[in-house]
Symmetry: C2
């Protein structure tokens, strides 16, 4: 059997509570009929966990490693040349080595120099936003001078060629970005549907990140303003991709994944955006409202229709899981620490007991919390309400039972001090792994690479069977 | 066509976020398969609003009037003889006058003297808890002396006879209360299924109110402790009632309503109980997490299966709606202010635009907030987190768009001062109604009743066509 096509739609800043099938939809003034139907045709995860913000989540997805290991533990800082280290062996590289075609249409945010662009990491085609979605507004802000600063652009790239800026990225082009992403994705699906190779199509939408500006056809579609209009557009765009899969006759041969990259943004100047559903917290905290985002899987005949799983899944787990489902498990590297866990048995409905019992939750380079079963230990506290993201040091960790207490309000450290035992083992194992394989510093000086990464990285990639970084365990 | 049987299950302290079909279920460690299936067979309301606590909600349900008008605007205070005034014309009285049989098995909490017991308000049979569910624990608390205080009992009553205490209500009997409620309800359904009259069976469960003590068969059923066990028991008990309806062959002739009486209780000494889902707040506040509770309707062939309505519905609305559906609209009194709105067209799926645009939200006798469309104006602020329910006076009202901002964090009073216009009209209309029909004081001295209500009320009921209080508009 030919391995499945994989279409991975990753949306931006949609919270756990925004989709109808997660309790949002009409209660948020923005019905999401297409995505609700997608969930009814597949599996909906209720304990899908992402990283603390945009860049780390994308790094985790593509490397199967905690972002603290890859130097991508925070958003690429504007003005600093940075990104995913060249020796990472990404999911598209792995899938290409397994015979897939790979393309990305959408937001990259994993590097702002040529050597760290998507076409250097296995994608054969790219069109989209290079960095954050936010810079669209820069040109309209007081004090920003495009002659002095990096002027936001939309980019394009092809394997073997330098990526090129093709169009200014500003408030004029912003509302059209996701319609273009969709057009290109739809065309790609039709073009490759009956090809000799399966494909991996990664669609990191810029919807519904601020500035949330709906396409003119969606402006005013709801009574909920731009954000709700964007949600409805996002549902529609996702539906267009699903329609293309259907029309191309490859629905049964295609695993669709739909997820969001992080929790809601709560910033006073933006006003209400996404919603965290029953969970507390927002982007910039380690509460469940940041960690858990919607994630829906569909693969007709393989993933049970209408199913729901509450097992802990990390965005990192797609690395091993998709490798396995693509029949490319043999290509998963064993020369570095992979934090990915194979969730195929959960996704295929063969078990309701998942393989992941714990998860380390970093905010930037700080270990903020550890999840273990239904418990969660916090090492720092955040006050996320209404845009305040104050960080408070704790003398003693806080412990929450997030199943009993989704809003993480009841610290049950006393009398549950027994929980230090499993948590300490998790922490020890993590530190042992770091001692064995030291973290890649953000600017990239790692094993086999001396001096400034940007001068060196073109020649830094060690030769190996996979062509990528087989020297990380030193 | 014979009017439908009506089975109304009212649970206690279950929050918006607890059932699977409202985003809880397995994420809360307590699957609710039966109730999720009930929702799939009927309509799920996402904007169903109750009153601020147990007694007011029950008063509103049975009278169709705001509790501030009926003297039941707060929980019956232990030690004070109080309750629903005898001149209220309750829903069971109305339905009895329309030819229904009526029974209640469960918690009353609308009066603690003989003249204010359920069998004085149209119910022909009663077994259950008279007051709050909480007193079960009194006998085990330091300082409580049953010889000095009102010793908690379970009660029984029949039309025309005094109600009698039948059994101590304590930690020994507490876990069995809801299995007995269910047994009696199931027996009632079978007995009256093929009778000449339709029936109104009101089942106010004591589940999942604290002390949350599952029946021994459910103890340890989940990994979530007593509360989660009680949730699973509640799902099971509701399922037993549904099974009885099915087995008796009357499913198509029976309108089932399932709801909760108020939002989650957040009290430090109790720890986590119910969850408010995506909404902020808890019992004792006027936030959506208190106002909105789950509500499911099923009437095969009449209420559209698998439907969801986001229209504003109040628990008061069942008065007019059930009167209408029971073909007894002509019995709805016109001599008093009714706040109930007929929601039949919404429930029957004939419109997606409900008749209720606003709702006054009282906490005890204070107007705390007004809902209007997707907006909500608060006149006082509460800090409900982790059991603190501090009341803060506001110099200026706060305004929230609860559709955009379910957690009521973003005060948008500026620039939305235009909203004072519809809100002022709502407040004026309310004050006009009060001037015309003054509130019934809690202890009951009202029109036609002089002096102490408890001495007088036996003879206080004015003669009228319905036999109940036709003098309230003075």
């Amino acid at each position: 059997m030919k391995p499945p096509n994989i279409v991975f739609m990753l949306t931006d800043n949609i919270g756990y509570g925004d989709l109808g099938c997660y309790g949002g939809g009409i209660t948020r003034g923005a019905p999401t009929a297409r995505l609700d139907a997608l969930a009814a045709e597949g599996m909906r995860l209720t304990n899908f966990n992402v990283e603390a913000e945009c860049t780390p989540t994308r790094s985790a997805l593509l490397t199967g490693r905690m972002p603290i290991r890859t130097g991508c533990h925070r958003v690429i800082p504007p003005g600093i040349k940075q990104g995913l280290a060249p020796w990472e062996y990404t999911l598209p590289e792995l899938l290409r080595d397994a015979g897939y075609r790979c393309a990305i249409f959408g937001k990259w945010h994993l590097g702002n120099v040529q050597t760290r662009m998507p076409t250097r990491f296995g994608f054969e085609e790219w069109w989209g936003v290079r960095d954050s979605t936010a810079p669209a507004i820069y040109g309209d802000l007081i004090g920003f001078d495009p002659d002095e600063m990096d002027n936001p652009m939309l980019w394009e790239g092809r394997l073997g060629e330098p990526c090129v800026p093709v169009q200014p990225y500003n408030l004029e082009s912003r509302p059209f970005v996701d319609s273009i992403i969709t057009e290109k994705s739809v065309a790609y699906i039709h073009e490759h549907a009956r090809g000799d190779k399966p494909f991996f199509l990664y669609i990191p939408y810029s919807l519904v990140h601020h500035p949330a500006m709906p396409h003119p056809e969606f402006k005013g579609r709801t009574r909920g303003g731009d954000f709700a209009d964007c949600m409805v557009e996002c549902d529609h765009r996702s539906g267009q991709v699903l329609d293309a899969i259907e029309e191309a006759g490859i629905a049964r041969d295609t695993l669709v994944v739909w997820a969001s990259d992080n929790g809601p943004v709560l910033i006073p100047s933006l006003g209400p955006q996404a919603d965290s559903g029953p969970w507390r917290g927002c982007l910039g905290t380690a509460y469940e409202g940041q960690l858990r985002t919607p994630c829906i899987l569909r693969w007709p005949g393989r993933v049970p229709a209408g199913s729901v799983s509450d097992q802990i899944v990390s965005v990192m787990d797609f690395y091993r899981t998709l490798a396995h489902l693509a029949d490319a498990g043999n290509l998963v590297p064993d020369d570095r620490v992979l934090d990915s866990v194979d969730q195929s048995e959960v996704f295929l409905g063969n078990t309701d007991k998942g393989p992941r019992e714990h998860l380390l939750c970093f905010i930037k380079d700080e270990l903020a919390a550890i999840k273990w079963r239904q418990f969660k230990m916090h090492f720092v506290e955040f006050q996320p309400e209404a845009g305040r993201r104050t960080r408070i040091s704790l003398n003693n960790p806080q412990l929450f039972n997030v199943e009993q207490d989704p809003k993480e309000e009841w610290d049950i450290m006393e009398p549950n001090t027994w929980i230090a035992e499993p948590i300490n083992v998790i922490m020890r194992d993590y530190h042992v792994s770091v001692a064995k394989c030291p973290h890649v510093p953000p600017r990239g000086a790692g094993p086999g690479v001396k001096g400034d990464i940007h001068a060196e990285e073109a020649k830094a990639t060690p030769a190996s069977a996979t062509g990528k970084g087989r020297s990380l365990t030193g």
